[in-house]
Subunit: 344 residues, 2 copies
Amino acid sequence: MKDKEVTIYDIASALNISIATVSRALKNDPVVNKRTKKKIFDLADQMGYRVNQFARNLRNQRTNTVGMLVPKLNSNFINSVLAGVEKVTTEAGYDLIIAHSSESYIKEVANAKNLFDKRVDGVIASLSFDTKNLDHFKVFKDKGVPVIFFDRVEQEGNNTVVIIDNYKCGYLATQHLIEQDCKRILHITSSLKRNVYSDRFKGYQDALFDNGIPYDENLVIINDLSERAGIESAMQILKMDPLPDAAFITNDFLAAVCMRTLKENGIRIPEDIAIVGFNNDTICTLVEPALTTINYPGIDMGEVAARNLVNHLKGTGNIQNTNTIIIRSNLIIRKSSLKKKPVI
Amino acid sequence: MKDKEVTIYDIASALNISIATVSRALKNDPVVNKRTKKKIFDLADQMGYRVNQFARNLRNQRTNTVGMLVPKLNSNFINSVLAGVEKVTTEAGYDLIIAHSSESYIKEVANAKNLFDKRVDGVIASLSFDTKNLDHFKVFKDKGVPVIFFDRVEQEGNNTVVIIDNYKCGYLATQHLIEQDCKRILHITSSLKRNVYSDRFKGYQDALFDNGIPYDENLVIINDLSERAGIESAMQILKMDPLPDAAFITNDFLAAVCMRTLKENGIRIPEDIAIVGFNNDTICTLVEPALTTINYPGIDMGEVAARNLVNHLKGTGNIQNTNTIIIRSNLIIRKSSLKKKPVI
DNA sequence: CTGAAAGCGCTAACAT
DNA sequence: ATGTTAGCGCTTTCAG
C-alpha cells in the first residue's frame, strides 16, 4: 500500500540530477548519457514509477489515442474489424478506446461526445441502426480531428469511408438465386436509410430487372434484424400465396431465425424456398442447411481504415484526398440456395 | 476550423471575473451567484467550451473511470455482462474503458498495464483462457485500486469474485443426462486451470459418483473451444466403441460444432447421443435439435460486480468484506437431451 | 459571494 | 550532456 505516486522529481532528487534529464531519459532521448540513462531507468523501475498520462497529455495537447465507435460488439463482423484496427493502431503506437452504441442513436451521440472529451486524435466509426444524421461528428471536423467511417456510412458531405460494394453484393446474391431458376425472390432487409441496406436493395432490384423479372414490392420486408422480427417475417412469408421460391436476407442471423421458423412450418430449404444470407457469420455452417452468404472481410476493412487514419495522423497521407475505399467481397455458395443440383 | 481550445481563462476574461468563479460555476457549486452562473454557462456554451479532462484529472488525482478487462468481446455472455456493468457505472457517473485480450495472457497483461497507466479508479475483470497467474493485478492492489473478478476467476488470495455455482451447474447437467437413462456420459471441457471448467468437471464427477456410475477418464476430452477442436472432438467420439450415449459440453458453440459433425456422420441427437451445452447462447435455438444448456445470467453478474465496485469507490460499501458472490443459474431443457419422452 | 495563488507532473525551448 | 524555467488547464485553500 505505498500510496504516493512516484514522479520524475523523486527520481531526479534521488539521483541529484535535473527533472529535464530524467524526462529525456525516460523517453529514450539519445542525447542523454548512456550511464545516466541506465541509472534513471533502474531507479524508476525500482521505485515503481509510471508516467502520468494526464500531465503528459496536458502538456502535449494530444493523446495518441484513436477512438472506435461501433453500433455493437457481439458480432463477428465487428470483432474482425476491431482485430484489424487494433493490429494497425498498436503497431503505430496508438491506444484504442472502444465505444459501442447498442444500435442506439442517442448512445452514439453520447459516445461521440465522450470520445471528443477524451480528446482522441482520430476516430473510426460505423453508424448505429437508427442514426438520424451526422451532426455529432461535426465537433471533430471543427477541431480538425479526422474521422473515418466504415461499413455503415453516410456518403454525402465527402466523408472518408471504407465499405464493400453492397450494390454488387445484392446484385450477385439475387443473380445467384435467379440462376437457381427462382422467379419470386423475396428480400428481407432493414432501414433503407443505411447505405448497406439500401445499396443491397438496389442491387436486388437491378438484378431482377436485368433478368426480366418484375419487381414486386410485396416481396420486400423491412424489419429491425431482431429475433422477433425474424419470426414475424417468416410468419408473413407463410401467409403469402403463392409462396416465394427464394429469399435474399440481408443478415445471417435473421436468415437463420427465418429458416428455423419456416422449417418448423414444413417448408423445405432450399427445395421450396432457397435462401441467401449476408455476412458469413459463424452460424452459417451451424444451421441446416448451411447458409449461402456474402463474405464480408471485416479484418481488411479494419486494417485499411486504421492504416488510412494513422497515415493521416502521422502526416504521411491525407484522407482529404481519399473519399471512398472499396474492399473486395464475394458470394459463398452453400446448400441453402442450391435448388438446382450443381452441374458437374 | 476554430482550432484553439476555449479555457476557463477565456470565459473569465470575457466576463471580467476570476477563473475561480468560472470553475465553481461550471461545477454547479451552489455558492456562486445565480445570475453570474447563468452568464457563465451561456458564454461557455456559446464559445464551445469543454473541460480539459487531463487538467482536471491531473489536479484531482482520480479519473472517475472504471476499467473492464475481458477475454473477448464476441460472446453474448460477455456482452450481457457489459450491459449490466454499463448500466450501473453510467448511473453512478463513471466512465468505462473496455479492454479485451482475445483470450491471450500476454495481451491481458498488457491491457492490465494499460488500464493501470490510464489510472482507472477500479477494475472489473474476467481471466483469459491461458492466464498463468494474477501478478499483473498486483499493481492495482499496491495502489489501492479495487479489482473485482467475475466468471473466470482465481479464488485464492481472497479476491472479490462474482460467479455462478459452476459445480452445481455441472452436477445438474450431468444429473439431467443420467435421468435420461444415460450411462456413458462424455464430458468435453477446457483448461482445468480455469475455475469455470474445473468446477463443472467436479460437478460432473460427483453426479456420476452419486448415481453409482464409475468415472471413466477416457470419456473426458479437453480442448480449446475452437471450431477445429469441436470437429476433432466429434471425430474422437466417433471412434469410441461403444459410443457414449450422452455428452455434457462446457460451451454452446463447441456443442453446436460437435453436434454438426456427429450428425454428418449419421449419429442421431438425442437418440444416439444426448447433448447438454453451457451458456444459453443464441445458437441454442438455431441448431437442430435445440440445445439443452445452462442459463448464465450475464447481465446480473455485470450489475452485481459493478454495484459492488461503485459502492466501494463511493465509500458506501467495502469489498474487502465480501469475498464471493454467487449469482443464480439454471438448467434449460430442450430437445438435444430429451432421450426419454417427457412424462406428462 | 468572489478573487489570488499554489500546484498537480510533464515537456521543450533556451541556456549552459 | 545537462539544467532552468515557463506553462499546459484546472481545483481548492485561504483571504477578503
